[in-house]
C-alpha cells in the first residue's frame, strides 16, 4: 500500500518548483560531491576477538563493546546484569545522534523482548515489551482496535529507547511519548526488578520515565492508548514569514501542526493532521527523497549565490499546491528516513518558539551549504523529572545536515541560539549543553541524580557521555 510520509509535503513545494531547473542541470556533472563517510549502521558484530563494533544510524557515534547480549526474558536479563561486572548499556535502533550507547562493557539489545504483553480496551491501556519497535507496536495496537495518541516521525525506534530519550511528535495538546506511560518495569543494576507508576513509588517513576538508560534496563512499559483512529493530513506552502505569524493559531486549531522551513527559498511547508471520521484512504506516493534531492541540487547549483538561489526558488515554487492524505494515524504520523542526516534539536518555552525559529533561520542562512529543512513542532508539558518538557508547554526546533557533509555547526552555531531562548536539548540529538547548564534548566535535576546514585551507586549503567552530562567523574 502506498503511504506518504510527513516530509512528502515538502516535495510538493520543492520538487514541483525546482524540477525544470534541476532537470536542466542534471545532465551536467554534479556541482559538489559529499565527502566520503563511513556507512552509518546500527549494531554489528565483528568477526575478530576484539569485541563488538557498533555505530549509530548516522555514523555520528560509534564504539567497540566487549559483547552484545540479547536476553530472551526478564530472568535472563537479571542473570546477565548480575553476572556482568562492568558497564551495561542498552542499544535500540541507533537513532540517537548523541553518544548514549557506546561502552567498552556490555551492550544489551532487547530485540527478543518484543511485542504486546496485554491490553485493556476498557481502561485504554496497553503493556509492551520494551524492545518493541514503534512500527510493530502501532500495528499490534491497530489489530486490537487501539492506537497511541501521538507518534514521533520515525517508527523504527524501540519503545524503551523512545521513552527514555523523551522522543515526541507534534501537537499543542499532546505530550511526548513518555508522558503517556502509566507504569514501568525495570531490571535494576543489582539485578532486582522494579515496578513503578504514579501510585507505586511515584518518585522513582518520575525519574525513570526519561532516564537515558541510566537507572536500569526498562523491560516493560504500560501506555495510555485510545480507540484506533484515522487522520487527514493537509500540506501547503506559505512564505515563511506568513507561516511564522500563523503558527501559534494553527497549533491551537489542529490536533497536530508543524512546519518545515526550506532554507534559501523563503518558503515553509505547513502540515496539519486532524481526526478523519471516514474510513476512506488517500495515499499519494511518497516523494520525500525527490524533495531532498531537489533542494540539494538547488544548493549545489546556486549555493554560492544565495540571492539568486532565493530568486530562482521564488520563481519556481508554486504556492498554490496542496496535498491531502488520509489513512490510519500511525501510517501518517510515523515512517522511515532513507536519507541519513545528523541533527540537533532543542525545546524552548512555547512563548519563545517563533522568535527562536526566526533566529535559527537567520543563523542557518549564514551558511550557503545548508539545504536540509528546519523542523518546528509543538509539544505539551509533562511531569517527568528529566523531560525537556518538564512543566512547560514547548516548541521544538530541529536542524539537520546530510550525512557526508560537515555538521559541527549544528552545535557550535545553533546551540547559542537555543541557550538564549532557555532551550532544553533533546537528549538523543547532538547538543552543546553540559553538566554546568543542565541543573538550571531542570528543577528536579538534583533529585534525579540522587535517585540515580541510590539505584546505581557504582555507575554501571553510565558511559562516558552520561558521566559528562551528569557531571560525574570518569571513575565510578
Amino acid at each position: 500500500m502506498h503511504r506518504i510520509s510527513r516530509r512528502k509535503a515538502l516535495q510538493a513545494a520543492a520538487s514541483v518548483a525546482l524540477a525544470p531547473a534541476v532537470c536542466a542541470r542534471a545532465a551536467d556533472a554534479p556541482a559538489t560531491a559529499p565527502a566520503a563517510m563511513p556507512t552509518a549502521i546500527g549494531t554489528t558484530r565483528t568477526a575478530g576477538p576484539t569485541g563488538v563494533a557498533w555505530r549509530n544510524w548516522s555514523g555520528s557515534s560509534s564504539g567497540v563493546a566487549a559483547s552484545l547480549q540479547t536476553p530472551s526474558d526478564v530472568a535472563a536479563l537479571q542473570d546477565l546484569v548480575r553476572a556482568t561486572g562492568g558497564t551495561v548499556r542498552c542499544v535500540g535502533a541507533g537513532h540517537s545522534f548523541a553518544p548514549l550507547v557506546p561502552t567498552d562493557g556490555t551492550l544489551v539489545s532487547l530485540d527478543r523482548l518484543s511485542g504486546l504483553v496485554r491490553h485493556d480496551s476498557t481502561a485504554f491501556s496497553a503493556t509492551f515489551w520494551a524492545g518493541t519497535r514503534l512500527a510493530q507496536l502501532s500495528r499490534q495496537l491497530d489489530q486490537a482496535g487501539l492506537g497511541l495518541r501521538n507518534l514521533p516521525d520515525i517508527d523504527v525506534q524501540s519503545f524503551a529507547g523512545a521513552i527514555s530519550t523523551a522522543t515526541h511528535g507534534t501537537g499543542a495538546e499532546l505530550p511526548a511519548m513518555h508522558a503517556d506511560v502509566q507504569a514501568l518495569q525495570l531490571v535494576l543494576p543489582n539485578g532486582t526488578v522494579l515496578e513503578c507508576s504514579p501510585t507505586r513509588q511515584p518518585d522513582l517513576f518520575a525519574a525513570a520515565q526519561v532516564s537515558l538508560g541510566s537507572l536500569g534496563v526498562i523491560t516493560q512499559a504500560t501506555t495510555r492508548v485510545m480507540p484506533a483512529y484515522n487522520l487527514k493530513r493537509r500540506v501547503w506552502l506559505k512564505p515563511v514569514d506568513v507561516l511564522l505569524e500563523q503558527a501559534p493559531e494553527l497549533a491551537r486549531q489542529h490536533r497536530h501542526f508543524e512546519f518545515y522551513y526550506l532554507p534559501f527559498t523563503g518558503y515553509a511547508a505547513g502540515i496539519t493532521h486532524d481526526i478523519h471520521a471516514g474510513s476512506d484512504t488517500l495515499q499519494p506516493d511518497s516523494a520525500d527523497e525527490d524533495m531532498l534531492r531537489e533542494l540539494r541540487r538547488l544548493r549545489d547549483w546556486l549555493g554560492r549565490f544565495p540571492d539568486l538561489r532565493r530568486w530562482v526558488a521564488h520563481k519556481l515554487i508554486d504556492p498554490a499546491q496542496t496535498e491531502v492524505a488520509q489513512d490510519r494515524s500511525w501510517k501518517l504520523l510515523s515512517t522511515q528516513r532513507p536519507t541519513k542526516f545528523n541533527e540537533t534539536e532543542c525545546h524552548v518555552p512555547r512563548e519563545h518558539g517563533i522568535a527562536c525559529a526566526r533566529e535559527v533561520i537567520r543563523t542557518l542562512e549564514r551558511r550557503n551549504e545548508v539545504f536540509f529543512p528546519m523542523e518546528f513542532r509543538f509539544i505539551q508539558g509533562d511531569n517527568a523529572w528529566l523531560s525537556p518538557f518538564y512543566r512547560r508547554d514547548s516548541c521544538s526546533i530541529a536542524v539537520h545536515a546530510a550525512v557526508g557533509e560537515p555538521y559541527d555547526y549544528l552545535v557550535q552555531e545553533i546551540a547559542p541560539v537555543f541557550r538564549k531562548f532557555n532551550g532544553r536539548p533533546h537528549w538523543g540529538k547532538l547538543h552543546g549543553h553540559t553538566a554546568r547548564d543542565l541543573p538550571g534548566l531542570y528543577p528536579r535535576w538534583k533529585d534525579f541524580l540522587e535517585v540515580r546514585a541510590q539505584l546505581d551507586p557504582k555507575g554501571r549503567m553510565l558511559n562516558p557521555h552520561l558521566r559528562s552530562v551528569f557531571g560525574l567523574s570518569a571513575q565510578a
Binding site: 524540477a19 549502521i41 558484530r45 555505530r55 510493530q136 527523497e289
Partner: protein
C-alpha cells in the same frame, strides 16, 4: 501540474520499479511459514521491507530484487550483517543467525507467485 512534474523528474532520473497496489498489499501481508522466522521478520524486517517510503527492496516484489540477487548470497548476507546504504547492520535483528538472515533474504526475494 503534479503529472507534469512527475514527468519532468522521470525524464532526468532513474526511477525504481513501481509496485502496483497489489504488490504493496502482498508485501504488507506476507510472512514466512516458519513461526520463529516469522516472529523475527515481523519485529525486524517488516517495517522497512513492506513500506515503499523506506526505499528498501520490497518483500516479494521481484523487480526490486532482480538487480540484487546476481551479487550472490554471500554478498547479500554481508550487506545484512555489516550494513549497507540504508540497511542497518544486522537489520534490527541482533539475535538472528547467518542462517536466519539467509532464510529471510530468500523469503523476501522470492516472487509471490513462486511459493
Amino acid at each position: 501540474m503534479a503529472c507534469a512534474v512527475t514527468l519532468l523528474l522521470a525524464a532526468c532520473q532513474d526511477k525504481p520499479p513501481v509496485p502496483t497496489p497489489a504488490d504493496l498489499q502482498r508485501a504488507e501481508l506476507a510472512t514466512p511459514d516458519d513461526a520463529q522466522l516469522a516472529q523475527k521478520y515481523a519485529r525486524s524486517c517488516h517495517t522497512c521491507h513492506a513500506n515503499r517510503a523506506s526505499t528498501a527492496p520490497l518483500a516479494r516484489f521481484a523487480a526490486d530484487w532482480q538487480p540484487r540477487l546476481p551479487q550472490g548470497p554471500a554478498v547479500l548476507l554481508g550487506h545484512v550483517r555489516d550494513g549497507f546504504k540504508g540497511m542497518p547492520a544486522r537489520g534490527f535483528c541482533n539475535d538472528c543467525s547467518d542462517q536466519d538472515f539467509e532464510a529471510l533474504i530468500a523469503f523476501m526475494s522470492t516472487p509471490a507467485n513462486k511459493d
